[in-house]
Symmetry: C2
Subunit: 338 residues, 2 copies
């Protein structure tokens, strides 16, 4: 099988020009080539089905056309939306996206970054939420340094004190606004189903929510931590019910957790929103058709992916840029007056 691959040299020979000329024609260098030769080269390339060897180009140019995208779990709609944004922008720029999934293990993130460095990826978008664990933060920072040293750019989605470009969603502000809106509905006893306490995203949303309740003069919420997943929400909700608190309104720090929580409530015969109001965060498009429709804070996820990709692709100074993205409270049927 394996019919030898067509190389630039073959094209050049066939077209009766030098390697240099062929290269200049086929890759838009600054140098001019006469129309005649140019045509000849283009034609023979076409006819031989020439495809440049990307590895060779990358090696010669010392820069590749790869863009990394690191997420925790591509199955989670939060990440798949961001991924869609990133790939759209990257593909428009003629780049290729390499997808890495960490399964939420910080060390995987470092590994992936190192692999990406080996591939001389031009840029990387780190979409996974940050942790507050010092040790892994440090390792990650070191790896990011190595990566930028080498000429690559890095951007993070969600806040990161990593000195990289960042698109930061208004987690805190969103949580706060949501709390106020819910307080306006007359609720007095709140609970929050929070993610793991070391997750920055979860902490910020929680902190914002608490602040919002304080603004409204409402007592602080009961907080139950759980995994940052559907099942985490489910378990946390069960725990809440078991605690016999008089909660009338629950805030799950992500829509996905809220879905799990609603499932738990339903199983236990707690009606939403009659017996309990519930709100999430993110406004995952796939979940918009659920019943009752989930109140939440809308984040423009795809757009966030696009912005991150944009940041990471146009060079910019060496100042780390930060783009803030506001969340918008959307009250729907899952929350009712109390």
């Amino acid at each position: 099988m394996s019919a030898r691959q067509v190389t630039l040299a073959e094209v050049a020979k066939q077209a009766g020009v030098s390697l240099a000329t062929a290269s200049r024609v086929l890759n838009g260098s600054t140098r001019q080539v006469s129309e005649e030769l140019s045509d000849r080269v283009l034609r023979t390339a076409e006819q031989l089905g020439y495809v440049p060897n990307a590895s060779a180009q990358a090696l010669a140019r010392n820069s590749s056309s790869l863009v990394g995208l690191v997420v925790h779990d591509i199955t989670d709609p939060y990440f798949s939306c961001i991924a869609a944004g990133v790939t759209r922008v990257a593909e428009e720029a003629g780049l290729v996206v390499v997808l890495g999934t960490t399964g939420r293990r910080p060390e995987r993130e470092v590994e992936l970054l190192s692999t990406l460095r080996a591939h001389r990826a031009r840029a990387v978008v780190l979409a996974g939420s940050r942790t507050t664990d010092r040790a892994s933060q440090a390792r990650l920072a070191a790896e990011i340094d190595a990566f930028t040293e080498q000429g690559g750019r890095v951007a993070c989605v969600s806040q990161a004190k990593l000195g990289t470009d960042t698109v930061v969603p208004g987690n805190r502000a969103g949580g706060r606004a949501l709390a106020r809106s819910l307080a306006e509905l007359g609720h007095k006893k709140f609970a929050v189903l929070g993610g793991p306490s070391e997750l920055v995203v979860a902490r910020d949303r929680l902190a914002g929510f608490k602040a919002g309740l304080a603004d409204a003069g409402v007592a602080p919420p009961v907080v139950i931590n759980g995994a940052f997943t559907r099942d985490g929400g489910y378990e946390a909700a069960l725990e809440l019910l078991a605690s016999k608190s008089r909660t009338t309104c629950v805030f799950a720090v992500t829509d996905v957790m809220a879905m799990g929580a609603m499932a738990a409530l339903r199983e236990r015969g707690v009606r939403v929103p009659e017996d309990m109001s519930i709100a999430g965060f993110d406004d995952i498009p796939t979940l918009r058709d659920t019943v009752p429709a989930l109140s939440t804070v809308r984040l423009p996820l795809e757009e966030m992916g696009e912005i991150a990709a944009g940041l990471v692709l146009d060079a910019g100074g060496d100042e780390a840029r930060t783009v803030r993205v506001a969340g918008e409270v959307v009250l729907r049927a899952s929350t009712a007056h109390n």
Copy 2:
């Protein structure tokens, strides 16, 4: 910035050995290297933070560590589940996944394949559903040939007469079994919200469903075609309602379409399942918590991704292999007796 990248040559020099030796130590060639030298090389590599240049390796070895994954829309849970399976297997094998999205444009698929070829990707998983359009089929087949010529492997998810390894879900059988189950509930008037008629997956599910109805001695369904998306399901359902048919049970050929359809029914005050039963296909995990719970045909999506990746990664003979994956009917609350 850009501190020059550490190269093998530097490591070799530092360690006082030849390039060849350093290479042999750091990449597990068949050749033996004495423990002393080996240690020295390993240590200096570690200490210099050496990371091999993947492009250079790819060039020298004439094979890269890239695996392509082509999907229509990573936001669609169907694809993101498959993607999760593919990435898991690829990452375990130490390979890197490059993600391409077509936005359902067949020519994009060809472009992507060509890019992947340029990168000398070792293998590609084509997860997008096939079309029956002759012209694009032919172009795709040509590109696949070029790819395999060059030594790459290709696998498809969902049926494809493309002569590649394939994992084919039991679309037909699943549709048929579903139809029978629904007929058993006593329904007599069915409608199908089908995808675009040229989509093989949609056709097969529909054909199976019709066969199942025939098995049960039930009249053929009304068929309404629409886009293969949530909105497509929504529109198709509206159309169905407008048609004033006496339908009591609707089959949407994907869960995502079913969600759209349910939204439309709800808006028009049609209760599910009291006034209308509805079933989907795929059993998307994210959608399992919806109310009413959707009856569907479960496909092991992640596993399908894993299988496809497995096929494409272990060489196998030149026979095109086919792995069939059965769908399992799951009746839930969205379908009721009639």
